[in-house]
Subunit: 441 residues, 2 copies
Amino acid sequence: MMDSPHSASLSMEELHEAWPVLSIDERLEGFRLLPSSVADDFFLGLSAREQAELILHLPTSERRTWVRLLPPDDLADLVQALEPEQAEALLSQLDDASRREVNVLLAYAEDDAGGLMNPRFARVRPDMTIDEAIGYLRKQAREKVETVYYAYALDAEQRLQGVLSLRQLFQAASDKKVADVMQHDVITVSENTDQEVVSQLFTEHGFMALPVLDEQNRMKGIVTVDDIVDVVQEEATEDIQKVGGMEALEAPYFEVGFFGMLKKRIGWLLVLFLGQMLTATAMSSFEGAIERAVVLSLFVPLIISSGGNSGSQASTLIIRALALGEMRLKDWWRVARREVLSGLVLGIVLGAVGLGRIMVWQSMSGAYGDHAFLLGCAVALSVVGVVTFGTLAGSMLPLVLRRFGFDPASASAPFVATLVDVSGVVIYFSVASLLLRGTLL
Amino acid sequence: MMDSPHSASLSMEELHEAWPVLSIDERLEGFRLLPSSVADDFFLGLSAREQAELILHLPTSERRTWVRLLPPDDLADLVQALEPEQAEALLSQLDDASRREVNVLLAYAEDDAGGLMNPRFARVRPDMTIDEAIGYLRKQAREKVETVYYAYALDAEQRLQGVLSLRQLFQAASDKKVADVMQHDVITVSENTDQEVVSQLFTEHGFMALPVLDEQNRMKGIVTVDDIVDVVQEEATEDIQKVGGMEALEAPYFEVGFFGMLKKRIGWLLVLFLGQMLTATAMSSFEGAIERAVVLSLFVPLIISSGGNSGSQASTLIIRALALGEMRLKDWWRVARREVLSGLVLGIVLGAVGLGRIMVWQSMSGAYGDHAFLLGCAVALSVVGVVTFGTLAGSMLPLVLRRFGFDPASASAPFVATLVDVSGVVIYFSVASLLLRGTLL
């Protein structure tokens, strides 16, 4: 899969490959075996949690080197992964300016734009010439700015006046002014913009970086696209785990302790279990019907699970569309219309297959008695009803949750399935009572 | 949520907001109303499919302007979204060099590194001085290179010798050689590396760009992190939709036609429906037991769904861990051990709750007859068995699928639930037969 001209980078790859299953001592040993030319890259590529763990196991004298390597936003993440007294000790090893930067970042919520941003961005003044601007950027790069995608033109009060891409800077004639070349319309975010909104802006516009402004329009930092990759990955993981019917984990599978993992799983399972008890209650009110026609009970799992499955489909579809900004709350009516129609068609197809299966089985074995056709019709009709209801409920639930300020992803597949199971029992036995009265019942 | 100092960019935001629900004519109208200073950005931010749709509705004379705006990799994506004869017509409007570039890119599979890469990257020669290199980069930026993160040092045969970040370039003394400053160990990918592997490299290392080499180690282009955001988003969407029990959609919810959507959903629903029919078959072999003790049938949905729910949890957990590279196939034994233990604990908790519920209900209403305690024990024991089995099956299935070259995400929550339902029926009635023989049965 990977080509690499040098063996050093290969061994960096090898360490990456083995990393998830190594103990901390093995990690430390492996890390020390890396050629120094790639150790920096390797360290920068670790997650904040992994960096923190490694740092804590290094002698104090070595810590400073690694901590200084990190840009302030990553350093703030690392500090947040430490215990308070460890964080204190680490911060005391920084120079004053860096410590101030990190402390400012620590004040932001981790998943706001302020918590993601890097305060070291490339700045120019609007009245500089292009040549002056390039010289000024070279100076900044020498000092502390890591990566330059855009240069931001600020006035004396640090308010954002415009932006230039490096390309625009390089393309322009040397003696032009920055203000003549820069773009004045800049899309920005505020310090408190949620990371999910920030990442939607990135995916919609394909930006490399977005400037972060405070309430007085002063520029505080930039969020860069490489941090957004992690945000997108994280948010998707949370959604997938919630869709699967559990609380989102905060760490990779093997790094979550056994009991921590159980805690994330038991909550929803218990809620669903208690919910499913209603199926027993619902069925017990039809006990008389089952007694008269035991054959009815055979199709209960089939019918309720078709509702559950179609509901799971619909809910995950809508959860993802909401997360990607493909639909808004106000589209609910369009969604409802479309999903009812889909549910009806899907239900009719499945119902027909169900009826067919019962008739074929009957002609082969006679297992379903004298009223097999009527029984088949009851099953088929119930499937149509249950699938239509499941599809509608599954598609509307995420919208309702969003409407009331909850995470739509909590409308997990198992949750929708449970909800639909109970109604499925009621629909099935009601249809059967109506259709089979006087024959089977 | 969004701050923007100018109203022009606000109206770009407004159009973005409304975009998903606009007809093509409304989109065209809105697009023409954008100030020309932001129309470029807006166009570049659209998906390839949306760009193609818009282009087709513009007069031929205007098309050329927009097409030329796109870098070759995005242009290749747009061309792939068109019908063959439309693509032909569009390509004929390009200059020779650009057409050649696009045609080369079209030869790659869309989800390989070759299909993602941009052939216009910033190059320098190892023997240039830093000042020469900066001058050379300025010249390239003026001509065609869009964005400069790194400068790649190539020899005369276009083989990659090393890489410099802009920061390194700007930091270095003017008269040093590129070869003295550049990093020699470069992580690269080949043209055929799958996009999922490429995006894992980006998230693991936090790169801004990765060079793509052919088999002779000649550099063909770069994959940039902004394209990776889309890849990560896309792969996550595919996984979530598969986990929800349907085929992955290729377009946003409202852009998939009604029947196209049905086609993506009915396949899995049918497979699951046919699978669920086995529950009816399984139950019919216990028809005698149900006839003797109808009360047994009341708990069928409760028991099989606890297995289904715990299985869904386990499978989504493992699917995501595999997608993120948090575990490998060879970890299967560690996973199995851990999941069996988890399943056992989860099952015991749920089983105890189930037994408690039956006893409470019994003391209140006497609904479950003389042998309520035995019945409760049968239910509780079955829940332990079914949940343990469901957890194990759900966690192993994605690994088995990966082992045989299938997508682990096909082990969707509904699929696992169906699989576990059938075994749940068998486990329940077997436990009940054993425990209740001579009393209820």
